[in-house]
């Protein structure tokens, strides 16, 4: 009787859940400056002077509370990157696109963001980059459209 295997019974559905994240006091200041003045700022540790970027309120080096933002030029250096060729539902851009780790001048830690305005074959680790901002900004990290060669 069991010779013909019956179709498996599946149950299709989602887990749908809305979230509204508070970015906290310090990151709010960062995003407001980004949105209103196209300025990128790092967070400076009062104890060990480390500047962490993207700015977080705890020092990655000495675990002190960090409350001070310092303005950065926005210019920086590419540490590593990849060119994305596959598609997935969570991506913000349509592939192919380049994404990389960028360390801004004056910062001790780096951010991951898109690399644009350049041929993929010309992207090299160590190259100088600068941010390109979106015209309409919403106070989130996508207000930086991408980083391009400086």
């Amino acid at each position: 009787m069991e010779a013909v295997k019956k179709e498996p019974v599946l149950f299709e559905g989602y887990v749908i859940m809305p979230y509204k994240y508070s970015v906290g006091s310090l990151a709010s200041k960062f995003f407001i400056k980004l949105r209103d003045s196209k300025v990128l700022s790092g967070a400076k540790c009062p104890k060990c002077q480390m500047v962490n970027f993207p700015p977080r309120s705890v020092c990655p080096k000495c675990f002190s509370k960090v409350e001070e933002l310092v303005e950065l030029s926005g210019k920086g250096k590419l540490e590593t990157f990849t060119v994305v060729h596959y598609e997935s539902a969570v991506q913000a851009l349509k592939p192919p696109y380049a994404i990389g780790v960028i360390k801004l001048d004056g910062a001790d830690t780096a951010i991951t963001h898109f690399i644009g305005g350049v041929d993929f074959k010309d992207i090299k680790p160590g190259m100088k980059l600068e941010p390109v901002f979106k015209a309409k900004r919403d106070a989130n990290i996508l207000d930086i459209e991408y980083f391009q060669p400086a």
Partner: protein, 387 residues
């Protein structure tokens, strides 16, 4: 023989319904720095950092790794657990295993939840099997309402008793500066609250709060060096039961996870009169019927006597057997944090550091419980002395 384990540092954030000035990492950092200050230690002293919380409540997958800058776990050993309401007590127990195993001497355990970021009830609904019973679970309240109905039928407990429990809790929470709901309610006010799910009205259900608690646990040799008032984690029991159905005890003798936990813990520690040999119980009480019902279930009082103790006022802060003098989960419920907060509050009572909500009895031994999952139970015994 396991190495002895002591709680040497306690830190909790204030609890509230909203706290937009901090993000979830900063909430954790708040509790961690308070615990470190309490123990007079630095993050570098911590050999392992464990954290627990429910992934879907804030949406973060692997959030122990994601937020390890704020917990201090970056560059250190660590673990993550999530078992629903018992997360917090599981974290304390996991910390116990870290130290008792001899692998670590000084560890930090954290339980946290930031409920203002997501929707709690839909997230809780996803504890069920998606194909079978997910459409019929409406948060945790459904199951709790069901056992409450069964308890009322079985024991003679009335809605009024649940209202008394909530009114007592409000008086306790009013004296606890870290509690979330600190308004004082009369029995009548509780009775008149809007019905959410019969028999539970809005005030008889726990609120959704946010907060974090961190504990520092140490081995015996470390504890002696660094702490004047160590609180010993004398014993702990974890009991899980089959999924669904079991807690209603249909067609068979009713024996719940709480009963098994109480029986095991008291037997192992030669406790014959729990209300005498332990002096306070910080219970995970997610709704107002829990305290009378579960005092019976934990085998602390006789069956059908729990609500009579409520009626007598015996369970109040200054009563003969204070239960949840902090205001309990009824007044503060940040799920991943709720059960570890019970352990923290019980430890504060033993230290005599609970402040305005310190119970009037002298506390030598205290109980703390966790409740979660499919009616699972954690029960911990804390003690002023190590033996």
């Amino acid at each position: 023989m396991a190495n002895r384990v002591a709680i040497v540092g306690i830190g909790q954030t204030t609890h509230s319904g909203r706290r937009p000035y901090v993000n979830d990492g900063e909430l954790i950092y708040d509790a961690v720095t308070k615990a470190l200050a309490d123990a007079d230690l630095s993050i570098n002293d911590m050999e392992s950092v464990m954290s627990g919380n429910m992934d879907l409540f804030e949406g973060h997958h692997l959030n122990d790794a994601m937020l390890n800058l704020y917990s201090g776990a970056a560059g250190k050993p660590g673990f993550k657990m999530n078992t629903g309401g018992t997360v917090g007590s599981m974290m304390a127990i996991q910390g116990w295993y870290h130290v008792a195993s001899g692998l670590f001497d000084l560890v930090l355990v954290i339980g946290w939840e930031k409920h203002d970021e997501g929707l709690v009830t839909p997230a809780i609904s996803t504890i069920t099997d998606p194909a079978v019973d997910r459409p019929f679970l409406v948060g945790a309240i459904g199951g709790l309402a069901t056992v409450s109905v069964a308890y009322m039928q079985r024991s003679g407990c009335k809605l009024e008793h649940a209202a008394m429990v909530r009114a007592n809790a409000s008086q306790a929470a009013a004296r606890n500066p870290n509690a979330h709901m600190r308004e004082i309610y009369s029995v009548e006010e509780v009775m008149n609250a809007r019905m959410v799910m019969y028999p539970l009205n809005l005030l008889m259900c726990c609120p959704t709060s946010l907060g974090a608690t961190a504990l520092i646990l140490a081995s015996e040799s470390k504890a002696k060096k660094i702490c004047k008032k160590p609180v010993w984690m004398k014993d702990h029991v974890t009991v899980h039961v089959e999924y669904g159905g079991a807690q209603f005890g249909i067609g068979e003798k009713r024996w719940t996870s709480h009963m098994e936990a109480g029986a095991k813990l008291f037997k192992r520690n030669n406790i014959t009169k729990p209300m005498v040999e332990t002096q306070v119980f910080e219970m995970y009480d997610p709704m107002a019927f829990a305290i009378p019902m579960w005092l019976e279930d934990f085998l602390i009082c006789e069956p059908n006597e729990g609500w009579k103790l409520v009626e007598k006022g015996a369970l109040k802060l200054e009563g003969e057997y204070p239960v949840s003098p902090s205001g309990g989960v009824l007044c503060t419920n940040s799920i991943g944090d709720s059960a570890i907060l019970r352990v923290a509050e019980a430890a504060l009572q033993i230290r005599g550091d609970a402040g305005e909500h310190q119970v009037t009895r002298e506390v030598k031994q205290a109980l703390a419980s966790g409740f979660g999952g499919s009616y699972w139970s954690d029960l911990l015994l804390l003690s002023k002395t190590k033996d």
